[in-house]
Amino acid sequence: MSAQTPAQTLAQKLVARAAGVATVADDQIVTCRVDLAMMHDSGGPRRVDSKLRFLGAGIWDPDRVVVVSDHFVPAVDLDSAQILQFTRAWVAEHGIKHFYDMRGICHVVLPEHGHLAPGMFVVGGDSHSPTGGAWGAFMVGIGATEMAGVLVTGEIWIRVPRTLRVLLNGQFMDGVAAKDVLLHLCATLGMENEYRVIEFAGSLLPSLPMPERMTLCNMTAELGAKTGLIAPDEVTYAALRAVGRDLTPEPHWRSDPDAAVEQSCIVDVAQLPPQVAAPHSPANAAPVHAHGKVAIDQAYIGACTGAKLADLHMAARVLKGRKVHPRTRLLVAPASARTMMQASRDGTLTTLTEAGAIVLPSGCGACAGMGAGVLAAKEVCIASTARNFQGRMGAKDSLVYLGSPYTVAASAIEGMLADPRPFLS
């Protein structure tokens, strides 16, 4: 880079590369080449098929398309069964090799199978697509019409986002996790950070494993951001090697030290107690004790946000040798088939089921109000998921609280909202 090149944020570098230019400026509108397009059974084939037919055009590059059936799996009624059948037929018709049928939730399946790498520009037909930012890829969520446009052209317009840098300093106290950070940020930064990228940095990051980084980036969707980003480091490249991607570390993929960010904020994570968000918004987050006594009907550990292997390990640490409260049911839907297999092999599923947990199939399930575990009228749930919007998990007047897997597990034992820290000492 010449001395004249303006300093760039990581977000700017990633967008510039995809736009085929040396540098970009905040708010500039550019057209980007898409390295990978991911879609699922809900927003994917069943929604884009008629649009492609209308355009009379094929897919620009089927090898750059990944389809994951995760929303209506396994089929619980005829409508779901037919959506899944249609998805299978569609990927076969279009020669899409990268198809994961009931292998887990797209945001977890994608990196598990080595589809993400630093420097990539990726679109996903799902709002939690920012999860990919944990891998140093620029990944944004889009809707079905936009996806049809990408499938035909391989391109998308984008407004270059400003960067909000969140410095996470210190180390978590035991029983606190990335989920608590994001709930805290939803309350403090609000959910209207539109046209911004949330870049996570700080002294917590070098020791923060990939699943926790994915949780951070995943819930930038709840902050209203375009996406989340974490500069790839040794942890990233080691995780990539573990999924068969032996890449040479590329120092380019980090913000230049003097790059201008719109805003910075610092979170002293060592002082952060477990957080819980009250219905019906992640922004209603506060320390768990602030919510008073709340009896729980259902505790749910699931979703791309909160059912990766590391999340199941958190729950198992709390539940080991204990029992779920009689008034509460604990449902666990591991985020992927591979997660299920690993949790089975390492004894985590034994710990959970001995405590009384019911294990559900991998998929988006009850988090999206679609699969097993939906809520009846006035029922109260605590979930390790990302969203507690009104009616999302079932009945319009059901109540969903959000917490980390630690907090969900502790609440399942107590039968009411509970701080997990006493269970770990």
């Binding site: 509108i29 927003g43 799902d126 889009i142 936009e146 035909v152 922004a283 679609m370 009616g391």
Partner: protein, 169 residues
């Protein structure tokens, strides 16, 4: 882009995609799903809206899922325009891609449910004809107005693809 005019429906902040397109009805085709749009806020909403009516909302309209049905349900019900102080980015793009006009208006705008309102997308102006005042909205980039004029992304793209075939470079 023609003037849009109708009755105002007034909503608060963070009208999310689960309110607009409830998950429990997501298996259903849009013709059925649309009747559940905003039912948790106003059970009569879908039956009361008329072609050209305007939604006026606060911050973060459309936050949540990428489900395009959130914008599509409003369009199918005949909503002429959604005006909000800010939009969730995926909803904003979905709406424009489907040809549903959306306008960001950060100025205070006094409006009561049922007021006659008028939206001029090109000029970026929102008028309350009942109360006799107006507010200035954020101007929309020309390429997005062109997409709305074409009826959304797909009709515009279809035209571009046809032109590309006619004049290969």
């Amino acid at each position: 882009m023609k003037l849009i005019g109708g009755k105002a429906f007034v909503l608060g902040d963070r009208i999310d995609t689960d309110l607009l397109a409830p998950g429990a009805h997501m298996r259903k085709p849009i013709e059925e799903l649309k009747w559940h749009c905003l039912e948790a806020v106003d059970p009569e909403f879908a039956r009361r809206v008329k072609a050209g009516d305007v939604l006026i909302a606060g911050r973060g309209f459309g936050i949540g899922s990428s489900r395009e049905q959130a914008a599509q349900a409003l369009k199918e019900l005949g909503i002429g325009c959604v005006v909000a102080r800010s939009f969730a980015r995926i909803f904003y793009r979905n709406a424009l891609n489907l040809g549903l006009p959306v306008l960001v208006c950060e100025e205070d705008f006094s409006v009561r449910a049922g007021d006659d309102v008028e939206v001029d997308i090109r000029a970026g102006v929102l008028r309350n004809c009942t109360q006799g005042h107006f507010a200035r909205a954020q101007p929309m980039p020309d390429f997005l107005i062109a997409m709305l004029d074409a009826g959304g992304l797909l009709p515009q793209l279809k035209l571009k693809l046809a032109q590309r075939l006619r004049s290969p470079c």
